[in-house]
Amino acid sequence: MDAQRSLALRQMIVRHKRWDVIFAAMGLVAIMLGLLTLITLFGGLIYDGYAPMVSPEQDFFSNFPSGRASRAGVLAALVGSAAVMVVTLLVAVPLGIAAGLYLEEYAGKNWFTSLIEVNVSNLASVPSIIFGILGLAVFVQKFALGNSILSAGMTLALLILPVIIVTTREAVRSIPVGIREASYGVGATKWQTVSRHVLPYSMPGILTGVIIGMARAIGETAPLVVVGAVAFITFLPHSPIQPDFPWISFEWLKDPYTVMPMQMFDWVSRPQEDFHALAAGAGLVLIVMTLLMNGLAIYLRYRLRKSIKW
C-alpha cells in the first residue's frame, strides 16, 4: 500500500517536472521567434535594398526622389530628417529636462503637481497620430506655420516630451540626498545645488532618455504625414549659413520637407516593384539609424548601472 503511494507520488513529481522542462522550452522558442523576426526583418531589407544602395548609377544617397526608380535617392529625406531632428532636439530637451527637474526637485505635493504627473503618464499613451492632429490644428493652421520643418519638429518634440521627462526624473531621483545636503551645507542656493551638482551627475541618465526619444522620433511617420510631410521634394531646404551678414539664416525652418520614414512609406505604397527595392534601401538606412541609437541607449543604461556606486 505504502509502496504503491510512494510510486504514485514519484510519478506525479516526474510529471510536474516534465511540465517545467516543456515550459522552459516554450519560453526559449518564444524568444527565438522574436529573434528570428529581427533577423528576417534585417535579412529581407538587406536582400531587397542592397542593390539600389550600392549601384553606382543610382547614387542612392545623393539623388532626389524621382518618378523613375532607377534615378531616385534619399538625399532630400536625409537632410529633411536631420533638420526636423535638430528642431525636435532644441525644443524637447530643454523643456523635458526643466519639467523633470521641477517635478522632482521643486514641486510640492499639491493638486497642480499631481495633475502634471498624471498628465505626463497619460500623454505617453496617446497614439502618435493624435499628436499629428494636434500639430495640424495648432502649428500648421492656428500659428500659420504651414507644412514646414518647424511645425514638424515641434510636433515630434511634444511626442517625445514624456519620454525625456520620465527619464530625467528617474535620473535625478537616483542622486543621493547627501550630495544635496553637502551643497546646502556650504551655503548654496537651490538652483546652485541643482545646476552644479544634481544635473551634472544625472546627465548620463538624462542622455539615455534623450537618445531613446530621438530614436523614436526619427522613425515616426504617422504624425508627420498629418502635419504635411511631402514625399516628393526635389530641392534642399535653405542653408542655415549665409555668406552675408548676419551669416545665420532661419529661412530653412519654413521650408517644406520630407523625412526618411515618409520617403519609405511613399515608395512602399507604389505598385511598381522597382520602388519596393528603394523602400527596402530606405528601410535599411532607417533601421540602422534607430537600432544604433537604441543600442547606444541600452549600452549607456548598462554602463550606468554598473559604474555608479554612491
Binding site: F23, S125, S128, L134, T221, A222
Partner: protein, 309 residues
Amino acid sequence: MSATADAALARSTLTYRASRNMKERGIELLLLAAASISVLATVGIMVVLISESLSFFKDVPVWRFLTDTQWTPLFENPQFGIFVLLSGTLTSSLVALLIAIPLGTVIAVYLSEFAGFRTREMAKPILELLGGVPTVVYGFFAMLVITPLLQKIMPNLPGYNLLSAGLAMGLMIIPYVSSLAEDAMRAVPMHMREGSYAMGATKLQTAWRVVMPGAASGIGAAYILAISRAVGETMIVAVAGGMQPNLTVNPMQEGLTVTSYIVQVAKGDLEHGSVGYQSIFAAGLALMLVTLLFNLLGAWLRRKFRETY
C-alpha cells in the same frame, strides 16, 4: 572695522540676498512653466479634437455617425459610419494581441522564473530592439514578407489584409508585454517563491500560482499598454492593411482602421474647413475615446488588484 562699514556690508549682503532670492524664484517659475507644457498639450488635444468635431457633427448628425454602416467620405453623398473604421481597428488589434499577449507572457515568465542571469541580461535588450524598429518598416515587412508567406497557406488571401498587418503589429508589441510583465514579476518578493518551493511546488507551479497572481496588477498594466499600442498603431495598417472600408471582423479581408483613414486623408491635399478635414478630427476623437477607455480600465485594474507585501 568702523560701524558705517559694517552697516554698508550688511546692506549689500541684504540686497545681494534679495536679488539672489529673486533669481531663485524666477528659475522656479521658469521650470514650472516648462512642466505646464505637458498639461497644455493635453488641453490642446482635447480642445482641438472636440471643437473641430463639433463643426463636423453640424454636418453629420452624431446618431448617423454611430449607426451608419458605410464609410464613404469622398462620395457624392458621403456617409460616415465610424463603426466601419472601429471594426477594422479592433480586428487588427485583436490579431496583434493574440500574438503579443501569449508570447509576451511566456517570455516574461521564462525570463523572470526560469532563465539564468546572463540569458535575461542578453535577451531583454535584444527583444526591446523589436519595439524600436520604425513601424513603417514593419509595414513593409507585413506587406512583402508576411503576406506572401501566408498566401502559400491561404491562396485566397488578398494582397492587402488585416491579418498580416495584425501579425506584424503583434511581433512589434511583444517587448512591451514581456519587459513590463517581467519587471512586475521580479518585484514579487523572493520569500514568497521560497515558501512555495518549500511546500514542494515546481518552478512552473510557483510561477503560475504564486508569482503571477502576485504580479497581477503589473501584468494587467502591461496588457493594457499593449492594447493601447495596437489600437493607436498607424503605419503598419496604413501600408499592409489596405484602404478599403469594410464593416467586418474577418481579418482575411482588406480593411480601413481609424488611424489608416487619417493617414489616407492627410496624404491628399486637405482643404482647411472641408468635411474631409473635419472628419479627421472626428475619427481622432473616436480613437482618443477608445484609448482613454482602456487607460481608465487599466487604472481601475491596477487599483483593484494591487498587492502589498
